[in-house]
Amino acid sequence: MYKSLQKMERKMNKNIFKKGSTRRNTAIVASAVAMLGALTFAPAEAAPTVKVGVLTDMTGAFGIVGKSNKAVAQFTIDEINKSGGVLGRKLQMVLADSATDPAVATQVASKLVNQDKVAVVVGGVASFTRVAVRDVIAKRGKTLYIWPASYEGNECSNNVWNTGSAPNQQVDPTVKYLLSQGKKTFFLAGSDYLYPRNILARVRQVVLAGGGSIVGEEYVPLDMTDPSNLVSKVLASKADALFEVVVLPGTGPFIKGVVDGGFKGKIAGTLFDEGINPIIGKQADGLIGVQDFYLPVDDAFTKSTVAKFNKQHPEAAGLFSATFNAPAWYRSIYLWKAAVEKAKSFDTAKVNKAMDSISLKNSIGGPVSFAPGTKHLNLPMYLGKSNADGSNTIVKSLGKIAPYECAKKQ
């Protein structure tokens, strides 16, 4: 009922905006353009700008992530334009709000491709958005689509490129670390949807391969309000380690319950970093995870770029984090730029072909390169530990890890 009302509301909004306002706006824009043309000496040889579609959730549950994404995209595009653009042409950001709703995402993605004629679309926060827009953009729209998020894996469509971490890049080192610390029995807990299920399937595989055992696996509904039952099951299992992918808003109450209940083991997951820790609260203390970036990453380029970002975008300072996909957004646009320059063309087919072997020396977190045939990146990964104040400590720098995806499944 709630969903359908939301839809009704949206339809009404659309109709209101349709009435006459478009024509008036066009007239205003046309006269403004005419005036500008008369007043300024536009250099005749200036090449037209190239549009980059930036698709993210500016509103709805993931609005906070959208705020970060938009700022990082603007920052990256400004940086590229300052150094001369791509093939001599300046980039122009076209922002589309997918509103944490797959139906809206499909609409705005279609507009980006068919109306704005963007050269590439970067975006999506949750996998349901990727699934909703990928065919609209990459298949029917024949436009390059870059998915900049760590996710559950298995995205191998044509014209789609993944620039976040694949499950094995986060899960394998986390589990191996726990095993090396003498943790033998694991409890797996997650929210009941695709992402946690796929991540925990990988966890199970690596635990069993490493000689550990699974003493429990539980999934809770996304709208779970009280985690008591799950907490009791974890405590009763007496597991050495809890691998949890219970997503927000359930994460905090769940971890709090487990910690307060006297859980003796380690708690690990894929969604802990400076962006999420403060939302969890002080129970974040001691959480283990692997990301492609944490603020203390010891890399001169990373440090100076993040500092520059915080200065230029005070509205999103503190939102530059791996779980908000900030590093992936930054490198996505640079990877596309490198592919366009290699292809010497903005043509989708040519850029798509060039992407496979692109690498970046300067990237947030360290150098990255596409692992040929996998549509995913070889990423430098870091094992991190969360602190009570929301910050992260890097336990170990893991170096470049190859993705097991698409052609190279393991």
Binding site: L5, V220, P221, T225, D226, S228, D260
Partner: protein
């Protein structure tokens, strides 16, 4: 008893008391006044927000817990006098109007919050050890408070003059109004008290969960089921209804997956409604 059994029993008590606490306000507004109040969840949310803000800016959640019923009660009074009272003759209209109010409250919080959710620390954060199980004190406080609150409201309604007037008004407003009692303010006052109780519940339970826009909405369906099972027209029914769905839910949750457990509870509720459509305590008419 093993620590696991102790925790199991504790979970049943805790989950039931949380749901009963959430339902107390609704038992008055939906159960007794028979207003299908779809924004009841957002009244809980408003209480939680009040507590959160007091915790954040005054550094003391106790103040928030005391303020929440006052703030939400006044808000409920305003709501009743401006909107709700127009719909007593039109229950379907009330359903839509209160749904809209809830939607507005929920979404305006979403646009104001700079994060998806915010943690709230309980005023008492310690745990006590009973038979090897470490049990959070705040949950015990909620059990005691719920029990006392339900008893107090029940006694006021049954044993005091005011309670009698309220029940009389809701039962037969015409007769009451010719007896010289202002039904207008009786209705407004009752709605305000129902709101205040929901606000209080929100402030109490937000440390167990976390502050997020759907905090009330996610609880709403279970609250409604509790009221439906308990039966309309009285106060105690919905509370018993809350226990009837929370207890099997909590017990099932210990043995089967929470997802299946949730589906089963709703399924059992439907079967119950089929055989006892008037609720637990009422005789068929």
């Amino acid at each position: 008893m093993s620590p696991t059994t102790i925790r199991g029993i504790f979970d049943v008590l805790s989950l039931s008391s949380v749901l009963i606490l959430l339902v107390i306000g609704m038992a008055i507004i939906v159960g007794m006044m028979k207003v299908f109040n779809m924004c009841q969840g957002e009244l809980v949310l408003l209480g939680a927000v009040t507590a959160f803000l007091c915790g954040k800016y005054l550094g003391n959640l106790w103040i928030g817990i005391i303020l929440a019923p006052i703030v939400v009660g006044l808000f409920g009074l305003l709501l009743e006098r401006t909107i709700i009272h127009r719909f007593y003759v039109n229950p379907q209209g009330a359903l839509l109007a209160t749904f809209a109010i809830g939607l507005i409250m929920r979404e305006s919080l979403r646009t104001r919050m700079s994060t998806q959710s915010s943690p709230v620390d309980a005023p008492i954060q310690s745990s006590i050890n009973i038979g090897g199980a470490s049990l959070p004190v705040w949950r015990i406080v909620i059990m005691v408070v719920t029990l006392l609150l339900a008893l107090a409201i029940g006694l006021i309604l049954l044993k005091t003059n005011l309670g009698m007037k309220v029940r009389a008004t809701l039962d037969n407003p015409d007769l009451v109004s010719v007896s010289g009692i202002s039904t207008k303010w009786m209705y407004a006052g009752t709605y305000a008290v129902g709101s205040a109780l929901s606000g209080f519940a929100g402030a109490m339970i937000v440390p167990l969960q976390t502050l997020y826009p759907n905090l009330g909405y996610d609880n709403l369906i279970l609250m409604f089921i509790a009221v439906m099972i308990g039966g309309l027209g009285q106060f105690a029914g919905p509370l018993a209804g809350a226990a009837v769905i929370a207890v099997p839910g909590a017990i099932l949750g210990q043995f089967i997956s929470p997802v299946t457990g949730q589906i089963l509870v709703v399924f059992l509720a439907i079967i119950f409604m089929r055989f006892r459509p008037v609720g637990i305590f009422q005789r068929g008419r």
